[in-house]
C-alpha cells in the first residue's frame, strides 16, 4: 500500500507522461486512491501494470458508483493489487452524466485484465455505464429484457406499499 507521499509521487509520475490524466488523489484510512480522467483510463492502467517500479498486475475488482447529486456523478473503481509486494492501489475514473438519457462511456480494459470482462458487464448491468470495446457487453445478473439501471440512486427502490397499523394513514390509495 503506497503511503500518502508515495501516492503523490505516482500521480506526479503519471501526469508527467500522460498530460493531466490524474485529476486528484485521496488517501483515507490507509487506502490510496487516484482520481482519474476516464478518457485516459487505459493509459493509466497500462502504466501501472507495465511500469517496472509499480507492476500492479492483478485487477482485484471493478465496481461502479453513483454519487448523485455530486458532480461528476458516476465513477468506476479499479482495485489494483501487486501480489509480490501485497500493495493495493485504487483508481477511480470519474464520469459525468451525459444527460438526455444517453449513457456515460469509457474504454474497456478487458484486453489488459481479462478478469474485467464479467465485472464490467456487472457495472454495465446495474449502472448503465458503457465500456467501449468490450467484447460482449450484455446484462449479466438481471434478466436480459430488464429495463432500467437498478443501482442508480434515482432508480425507484421498488416493492409495494404494505399496510401496517402504523402506516395505514400514509399508504397511498388507502382510506379508512
Amino acid at each position: 500500500m503506497p503511503d500518502a507521499p508515495g501516492l503523490e509521487l505516482i500521480a506526479h509520475e503519471i501526469n508527467s507522461r500522460h498530460g493531466d490524466a490524474i485529476v486528484g488523489t485521496a488517501f483515507e484510512h490507509g487506502q490510496a486512491a487516484l482520481l482519474a480522467d476516464p478518457d485516459q483510463i487505459r493509459e493509466i492502467l497500462t502504466f501501472l501494470r507495465e511500469e517496472p517500479a509499480h507492476e500492479y498486475r492483478f485487477l482485484a475488482s471493478v465496481h461502479g458508483a453513483d454519487y448523485l447529486p455530486a458532480e461528476p456523478r458516476f465513477a468506476v473503481h479499479y482495485e489494483l493489487l501487486n501480489m509480490p509486494r501485497v500493495e493495493r492501489l485504487r483508481v477511480k475514473a470519474l464520469l459525468a452524466d451525459p444527460g438526455d438519457d444517453s449513457l456515460p462511456e469509457l474504454d474497456s480494459v478487458v484486453d489488459l485484465f481479462p478478469t474485467a470482462d464479467f465485472q464490467e458487464r456487472e457495472v454495465h448491468d446495474f449502472f448503465g455505464i458503457v465500456f467501449r470495446g468490450h467484447p460482449d457487453l450484455r446484462r449479466i445478473l438481471m434478466p436480459e429484457d430488464y429495463v432500467g439501471w437498478p443501482l442508480r440512486r434515482d432508480f425507484p427502490i421498488g416493492g409495494e406499499p404494505v399496510i401496517f397499523t402504523n402506516t395505514e394513514d400514509t399508504v397511498p390509495g388507502w382510506t379508512k
Binding site: M142, P143, Y146, G148, P150, F155, P156, I157, G158, G159, E160, V162
Partner: protein, 285 residues
C-alpha cells in the same frame, strides 16, 4: 364415596371392542356371516354396522388430500425448514405429504420456499405448468407471499402475481410446524373441493388439461353468494349429459393470451358464473 361413571356416548360397532366378551361376540357374528347363517334383520344390521357409504367424489378428495406429493424444489432459506419438515423430528408422513418427487410430472404440490426473484419467476411458472392436474401451490413465508423484506427491484412482490396460490403461510421463515399446519389447511381445502374455482379467480378458464372439459366447455360450477368477493365454489354441478359432451365446439381453438382476452371481454358484459365461457363469448353477438 362411590363415583358413578357415566358413559359419554354409545360406542359404534366400528370402535374398538370394550371387553373380550364383546370381541368374541363380534367374531362369532362375522363367522356366521361368512358361513351364510345370517339372514333377514340380522344380516341388515351386520352390513349396516360394517359398511361405510360415501360419494365417489368425497372418497377421491379424501385420497388426494392424504397423499400430497410435493415437488423437490427449494428457493431460499425457507427450504431448510421445508427439508426438516420431512425429518424424523417433524415427519409429515403422518399426514401423507412426505414423498418429495424429483420430477414435477410426479408432484401435485409446489411449495414456494423462499423469495422468487424476477429471473426465477419464469422457471417457477414452468415447473408449475409441468405439474399434472390437480395441483396445489403453497406459498411459504413472507417473501413468496408478499416480497417480505425484499421490497426491491429484483424480487417478485408476491408469487400469486404469476401463479395461483392456494395457501399462504406467514413467517420468516415459518417453522416446520407452521408448514405442517399449512398442509393440514390445504388438506381441509382438498377434502371440501379440490379446485375451489381458482380458474375463475385467476381468469384462467379454458386452460383445463382434461380433453373433455377444454373442448366442450368445463363442467358447470356452482357459486355461492352474489358478489365476486364471495367467490366460494362449493362443488361441481351435475355431470354433463351425453349431448352436452358431444356438442359441437362453439368457438375456435384459442390458446394462451387470446383465450384469456376473449374470456375477459365476454366477462365484462355478463358476470361469469360458470367456468364455461358464455355463448357468443367471442363478441360476435
Amino acid at each position: 364415596m362411590e363415583v358413578e361413571r357415566t358413559k359419554l356416548r354409545e360406542l359404534s360397532p366400528l370402535d374398538q371392542p370394550r371387553s373380550p366378551e364383546e370381541l368374541r361376540v363380534r367374531q362369532l357374528k362375522a363367522r356366521d356371516m361368512l358361513r351364510g347363517d345370517l339372514a333377514g334383520a340380522d344380516l341388515d344390521e351386520y352390513v349396516e354396522s360394517r359398511v361405510l357409504t360415501t360419494t365417489l367424489e368425497r372418497a377421491q378428495n379424501w385420497a388426494r388430500g392424504n397423499s400430497l406429493f410435493p415437488a423437490t424444489f427449494g428457493l431460499a432459506c425457507c427450504a431448510i425448514e421445508m427439508m426438516s419438515m420431512v425429518s424424523a423430528r417433524y415427519d409429515t408422513s403422518r399426514f401423507g405429504a412426505e414423498v418429495f418427487r424429483a420430477s414435477p410430472r410426479q408432484a401435485d404440490m409446489l411449495i414456494l420456499s423462499g423469495r422468487v426473484s424476477i429471473k426465477m419467476a419464469p422457471v417457477v411458472r414452468r415447473i408449475y405448468d409441468q405439474m399434472l392436474e390437480p395441483k396445489w401451490v403453497l406459498s411459504m413465508g413472507a417473501c413468496s407471499s408478499s416480497g417480505g423484506m425484499f421490497a426491491n427491484y429484483a424480487v417478485v412482490q408476491g408469487a400469486d402475481k404469476f401463479l395461483p396460490v392456494d395457501i399462504h403461510i406467514p413467517g420468516c421463515p415459518p417453522r416446520p410446524e407452521a408448514l405442517i399446519y399449512g398442509i393440514l389447511k390445504l388438506q381441509r381445502k382438498i377434502f371440501g373441493d379440490p379446485d375451489l374455482g381458482w380458474r375463475e379467480r385467476y381468469r384462467a378458464a379454458g386452460t383445463e388439461e382434461d380433453e373433455r372439459s377444454s373442448k366442450a366447455g368445463a363442467l358447470p360450477v356452482r357459486r355461492v353468494g352474489t358478489s365476486p368477493a364471495d367467490g366460494i365454489v362449493t362443488g361441481h354441478g351435475p355431470p354433463p349429459s351425453a349431448a352436452e359432451l358431444h356438442a359441437p365446439v362453439e368457438h375456435p381453438e384459442l390458446s394462451g393470451h387470446e383465450a384469456r382476452d376473449a374470456y375477459e371481454e365476454a366477462a365484462e358484459d355478463e358476470r361469469v358464473t360458470s367456468s364455461r365461457p358464455p355463448v357468443g363469448w367471442r363478441g360476435d353477438a
